[in-house]
């Protein structure tokens, strides 16, 4: 960021300029600036849900697109995500109070033997940003953890993540166990992680493979709306 840009006073910008500046700040991974922008918009009477969707998710959508196009790389995406997390931390308690729309619930976790959670955390954050309630089971989850969380939270979606080729087959263990217990059709199962692909997702019996967080959100919305349509038909 140039010195000239450093001198921008966020509070002096009108709403439209401020949102544009927040897009830039998210892109540059500037957490404090994002927190300040969120606070300013709240002070101006913006609804928390509007700040989340218009400023934060809007900015992260640009980051996600540039990541997919090879313009941004993982470190830059992580910095942007960290900045968004700062804004989310302010908004999250307010979202519940203000009755923001809920899209559904997702239980998500990295599979047994795998401790990698960067992708999973990005998906969790973007799903929350899209209005889903997310129950994050963390890393290294045996099948029992998933089943207990399904029982407890009754989510619409189960998400599983793996970074290693040695651990991704465990997703099939979870899905097969769900089939054995007659639970599989009760949930939308989405899988993701660097070594996976669509073919793998199909082979293990997932509903969809999601190549990145943005695709995960779109896929989740699509499946949930189909589920609701089929229930109301």
């Amino acid at each position: 960021m140039s010195e000239e840009e450093d001198e921008i006073i966020l509070s002096e910008l009108d709403d439209e300029e401020l949102v544009q500046q927040m897009f830039d700040d998210l892109y540059d991974g500037l957490k404090e600036e994002i927190e300040e922008g969120v606070t300013i918009l709240l002070d101006r009477g913006w609804a928390p849900y509007d700040i989340l969707t218009k400023a934060l998710v809007g900015g992260m959508t640009i980051v996600g697109a540039d990541f997919r196009d090879g313009i941004l790389f993982v470190p830059e995406v992580l910095l942007a995500a960290n900045a968004m997390k700062g804004g989310m931390a302010i908004l999250k308690p307010l979202l519940a109070e203000t009755g923001a729309p809920r899209m559904g619930t997702m239980v998500i976790g990295t599979v047994k033997g795998d401790i990698h959670d960067i992708g999973k955390n990005l998906v969790s954050m973007m799903m929350e940003g899209a209005g889903f309630e997310v129950v994050d089971l963390g890393i290294n989850n045996p099948v029992e953890n998933y089943l207990a969380a399904l029982e407890e939270h009754k989510p619409d979606i189960l998400g599983m993540s793996a970074l290693l080729t040695t651990t991704m087959p465990y997703m099939k263990v979870v899905i097969d166990t769900m089939i054995e217990q007659g639970l599989r059709d009760d949930y939308i199962v989405l899988v993701g992680g660097a070594p996976l692909n669509e073919e793998f997702g199909k082979a293990i019996g997932a509903d969809a493979y999601c190549r990145d967080a943005a695709v995960a959100v779109e896929t989740a919305k699509d499946f949930v709306s189909r589920k609701h349509n089929s229930l109301s038909a």
């Binding site: 960290n82 795998d114 080729t165 070594p195």
Partner: protein, 222 residues
């Protein structure tokens, strides 16, 4: 371990790989990260009938490119040799390299990755308490910045360290050689990542046993 005379430096092995042909009848198509070790075994065992082509070691960071790169090299070079072997483990290709080698009719080294075959696949598989271990080999200890620190952006954004390594607890340096300077370097890598350090001497493990089979002679006792 000093660098054999006919090998380029690690930077070139990382970026470009190397081809060492001396008119042998067996060709090894290998990862550049294994070049020093393979040449050391070749020289120690007098395997003069073995030629070596190493692909750029940095493919380690792009496993989706390995199978195609191996196939191109095997296809281009195989007519000049009686036998071609692939010195890659699965290396994050998710079975794709195995499928490619099967289709080409060439054998590859067994195991999920070099950390496993250096320690011995059976011994490595027996660890059920190392989910949180991050491994370095001799090569990766020397090339830590090129393979870990810079690609993850930690040179520019050290604050990301926790996001990448917060779930790890220790760095296991799998030593192929006895080299106190390299051990100190590996220990420094662990400190930079904020991890506990463990040195585990593996020697060449299943790499030596496999190459000896392929070369048609038993492992050296030396």
């Amino acid at each position: 371990m000093t660098r054999p005379a006919d090998l380029p430096d690690d930077t070139q092995l990382t970026r470009d790989g190397v081809s060492l042909a001396q008119g042998g009848r067996i060709l090894l198509v290998a990862c550049g990260a294994l070049a020093r070790e393979i040449v050391a075994l070749r020289d120690r065992n007098g395997w003069d009938h073995i030629d070596l082509t190493c692909l750029p070691a940095i493919l380690h960071n792009h496993p989706e490119r390995i199978a195609d790169a191996v196939e191109a090299t095997v296809t281009a070079r195989r007519d000049a040799y009686q036998k071609v072997y692939v010195v890659y483990a699965d290396c994050g290709t998710g079975g794709r390299l195995q499928d490619t080698c099967a289709r080409l009719g060439v054998e590859m080294i067994k195991g999920p990755h070099c950390y496993s075959f250096y320690e011995g696949n059976a011994a490595f598989a027996a660890h059920d308490d190392e989910v949180t271990a991050f491994y370095l080999t001799d090569f990766l200890a020397r090339q830590f910045d090129a393979f870990v620190w810079k690609p993850l952006g930690l040179d520019r954004h050290p604050e990301l360290r926790e996001m990448y390594f917060g779930n790890y607890t220790k760095l296991v340096y799998q030593a192929q050689s006895d080299d106190s300077a390299l051990t100190a370097r590996a220990r420094a890598c662990a400190e930079r990542l904020g991890l506990a350090f463990e040195r585990r001497f593996t020697g060449y493990g299943d790499l030596e046993r496999t190459l000896a089979d392929w070369a048609g002679s038993g492992p050296s006792s030396g």
